[in-house]
Subunit: 340 residues, 2 copies
Amino acid sequence: MFNMTAVLGATGAVGSIIRALMEERNFPTKNIKFIATARSAGKVLKYAGRDIVVEAVSPEAFEGVDLVISSTPDETAEEWVPVAVSKGCIVVDESAFFRMKEDVPLVIPEVNPDDIMKHKGIISSPNCSTTQMVQALQPLHAFGKLTHVNVATYQATSGAGVGGQRELVESSKAHLAGEPFEAKTFQYPIAFNVIPQIGSPKDPVNFPGYTSEEVKMIRETWKMLGDDSIKISATCVRVPVENCHSEVVTVETEKKITREQAIELWKNTPGLVVMDDLANHVYPMPSICSGSNDTYIGRIREDVSRENGLTFWCVSDNLRKGAATNAVQIAELLAKKMFG
Amino acid sequence: MFNMTAVLGATGAVGSIIRALMEERNFPTKNIKFIATARSAGKVLKYAGRDIVVEAVSPEAFEGVDLVISSTPDETAEEWVPVAVSKGCIVVDESAFFRMKEDVPLVIPEVNPDDIMKHKGIISSPNCSTTQMVQALQPLHAFGKLTHVNVATYQATSGAGVGGQRELVESSKAHLAGEPFEAKTFQYPIAFNVIPQIGSPKDPVNFPGYTSEEVKMIRETWKMLGDDSIKISATCVRVPVENCHSEVVTVETEKKITREQAIELWKNTPGLVVMDDLANHVYPMPSICSGSNDTYIGRIREDVSRENGLTFWCVSDNLRKGAATNAVQIAELLAKKMFG
């Protein structure tokens, strides 16, 4: 078991769930500390019946810590994760900053657990919309070898943090009252609207016209499946949903995968739940999947437009399996590998 | 000019816009009458400054009428459109009921205007989510021959009529107040949720696992483009948006179409507006396209996953170009062909 685990970004939307999950799953650590930016320092948080005072981030805060679970913006991670590593910590990092670095494993415990011990101090947890898709793709790839993946997302406002969630509620109230609303977190008011942009244009040489979120879905999938020969395209769209990302995924495989085979593969994969009975209106939706640590798959059908095509709908709680749950699971797997 | 035009379903969500458009565009008819079910009969509606009393639908209501623009549920169309035709009317029908019949032209005036005069009394206007997609596809098909089309939709609640619009507002208010809400129009509460089902399972032999809305997007596209060799797949999803359908469309063509060529083709197509500058957050959205008669295209990019692939985002007012506007345009085109 770890001696001292620190949660960096402990007061954020994801950090709060990390704390709750650690407590609920009896996370294997003797001691715990919560670290945040100066703004949140001094707050008192409950953990396992104890009061814990949030510390301001500083080099000294990482002294004596052996594990850090970190959920912060990229810039914060860029600054503080290397400091933690220099103090001897292993860092499980939620941010995008280190994910694509060569010596940083990018891990979903159900997908590529063996990559974890290749770490040099940092283990990254993938992008929320990528995690749920790769969970669904991995057994298909192992069975029939993916050649093409096409995804369109329906992403919740909680993916943009507490500010995103608040902005959905506030802009919805304003819209219903017929009042104007000025967007801050999103490019435009998200209430009763959809916005076809998440992130900014990035890597215009390799991915012209794609956003950073779309490029993450491509590159991170390649890295975790260990196969960049898979042709992937993504379009990421923000929808007025508080929590849970949904995705329409179409794949093509070298070897045909029938609907029945896909269902069998997914039913036998930990972390996945098949919810598929269209005639009886059974399929996953944000309204029923929020709060769960699993990823849900429905609307499973052989694609009528491609010989070896398969189409499905996939929903997961982006704050949980898309972020907090995956990070805690990585840390648990690490504990198992390190301490047995 | 027509002698007597009747609007059947004149009091519905689409019927109201049909009336407004006819007035605004000075529709070429000497006389007009509004017909609806008995429930709405007797209502007084304004048209060009005059009061017009809504008549209850009956065989006699169609006497002396030469053109009917009809927007009703399928069952109503099935019952009354043939009655109108038997009375000598030409019917421009919004419903799905006659669209796929061999002797019924299915028309978007900008796409296949010449099909219109093949009618035997009925001309159908296509499904809302299909119309905007086919408007975008037609110039691509003419230029580079489509081989594959894959679409994921983000469909507004107004597509389910006045009841759908009301249910979005009411369920949103209930959700924000923390109160329970029982869905009637949709399968589940749509507020802050997405529902991956529009229509019901249909044609399980040819399209197993697809819904009726998805099959419409495939079959109607084939009919209007006059080419059922195009491989098409669709996934239709309801989103908590009041009005305007949005779509992520990925196509593959025999001949490569660059982003620049696609923009050029679309800019030269009546009814289409290109709105594409990702770096400056310029792309179509329901919040800005509602109330327009055009179809908007953005996020245009060559697909990184397919040699001759192109991906784009398409938004249109489903009550207007997706329904009322297209029907009125068909009727105007008919007038031009008949009366010059």
